[in-house]
């Protein structure tokens, strides 16, 4: 399933959460990552995120799409990052 992860956390945890996110998803722009995961991978990602955030203060959102058929990404301005498999 396709996952878009968006986070808003306290400054001191920004680096930590980015580090976790990058293991599973591709960085798209500040505080946004996305990619194709299995259910199990998604559960592991959530578990790892819980480890680093302070649940009374931080917020992390996941948007889940069953497939990318209905996803259209439009971009204005600079393209900062996108999932790529041929580098």
């Amino acid at each position: 399933m396709y996952v878009i992860m968006v986070y808003d956390v306290a400054v001191e945890r920004v680096v930590k959460i980015l580090k976790v996110g990058r293991k599973y998803l591709t960085w798209v722009q500040n505080s946004v990552l996305e990619g194709d995961l299995t259910r199990a991978q998604f559960e592991r990602l959530k578990a790892e995120v819980r480890e680093v955030i302070d649940e009374s203060e931080d917020s992390v959102l996941f948007y889940l799409l069953r497939s990318t058929d209905w996803l259209e990404r439009q971009n204005l301005g600079v393209r900062k990052g996108e999932p790529k498999w041929m580098l």
Binding site: K19, K23, T26, D36, L37, L45, K84, M86
Partner: protein, 330 residues
């Protein structure tokens, strides 16, 4: 879903922040390690032992290709699926001449069936292939009476020869005339495409073998020797027609790959970077294409289908169920 990562250009690949990072001209590009199935290296990529350790932990293989796109070798991480019993059975089926011949026949039979299938597909699209189909059916009928591996390989060779004659009639494109099969080096564009596609299929099957209990060094149709993996070559025979040949034919027919995508070198013709990219895109798309599996009653991708084929082979070796090669029905 895990997928293949292709490194076309140069740079340094390293472990960074517990994930993969490609550094090129000072720019860092992170790749989510959890999503990587295998890595294909075409460019001048540098890496170190720390990276290989990390890849081993994540069970990610690295396939290396030369400048001209030839398969050079594989970093095969530590085995994690070990079964002494299956290995023994694999050896028994290799050493017992009858058992080995039986398996080899099944691979050749499956291969020719799928060759026929590809040609019938083009026949339905109005190509005159009647005589070639008859020739192939003849070879198919001879498979089960062959008494040795050598003869069996000859039958397959003759079937393929007849089959390749159909290519010029299907394509009718002077830039992509087939003439005859040439390797090392491929002497024309069609041969270059087929060789490139075949190497990709060999590595794809090898990657799937790694995910089963089978030992890639012991093949049945292709003799086990000191050089390399053999089992992936056997299984690849069954899939070549539907995966490689169809990809090649459709890329040429749709003019996605053209004469300008090739370069002459070492007395042969090779795909240039742009052509290689186009091929790889089409290849990934084909491996990811799903079809309905009657036994499992769900959709599976061709990549998964290769693995299912290996499970069938395991069952055959263990004496649970006789192996019947995959056959397309579209």
């Amino acid at each position: 879903m895990r997928r293949a990562l292709y490194l076309m250009g140069g740079g340094t690949l390293s472990r960074k922040q517990n994930t993969l990072c490609l550094e090129r001209e000072g720019a860092k590009r992170y790749v989510p390690v959890e999503q990587v199935l295998e890595i294909h290296v075409f460019g001048e990529v540098e890496f170190n032992k720390r990276l290989l350790e990390f890849l081993s932990q994540h069970e990610i293989m690295v396939h290396i290709y030369s400048y001209h796109g030839w398969y050079m070798g594989t970093f095969y991480p530590r085995e994690h699926n070990n079964s002494g019993y299956l290995l023994l059975q694999q050896v028994v089926h290799y050493l017992d001449a009858e058992k080995r011949l039986d398996l080899a026949r099944r691979f050749v039979f499956g291969a020719i069936q799928n060759l026929l299938h590809v040609l019938r597909y083009y026949q339905r699209r109005g190509k005159a292939l009647e005589d070639i189909l008859t020739a192939l059916e003849g070879q198919l009928g001879r498979v089960h009476s062959q008494q040795g591996i050598e003869q069996l390989m000859q039958v397959e060779g003759q079937a393929r020869e007849a089959y390749y004659r159909a290519f010029d009639r299907i394509l009718e494109d002077p830039d992509f005339e087939f003439e005859e099969r040439t390797r090392r080096p491929p002497r024309n564009r069609m041969n270059a495409l087929l060789s490139f596609g075949n190497s990709l299929l060999y590595t794809a099957v090898l990657s799937e073998i790694y995910r089963t209990h089978l030992d890639p060094r012991i093949g049945f149709l292709h003799a086990t020797n000191f050089r390399r993996f053999a089992l992936n070559l056997d299984v690849a025979e069954v899939f070549k027609p539907i995966l490689v040949d169809r990809t090649v034919l459709s890329l040429v027919q749709k003019r996605q790959i053209q004469a300008r995508h090739f370069d002459e070198a070492l007395g042969g013709l090779y795909l240039k970077e742009e052509g290689r990219r186009r091929f790889l895109e089409a290849w990934e798309e084909r491996l990811g294409t799903t079809l309905h599996h009657r036994g499992l009653k769900r959709h599976v991708s061709y990549r998964t289908l290769i693995r299912l084929e290996l499970y069938k082979l395991e069952k055959h070796l263990l004496g649970d169920r006789e192996y019947r090669p995959f056959r397309t029905r579209w």
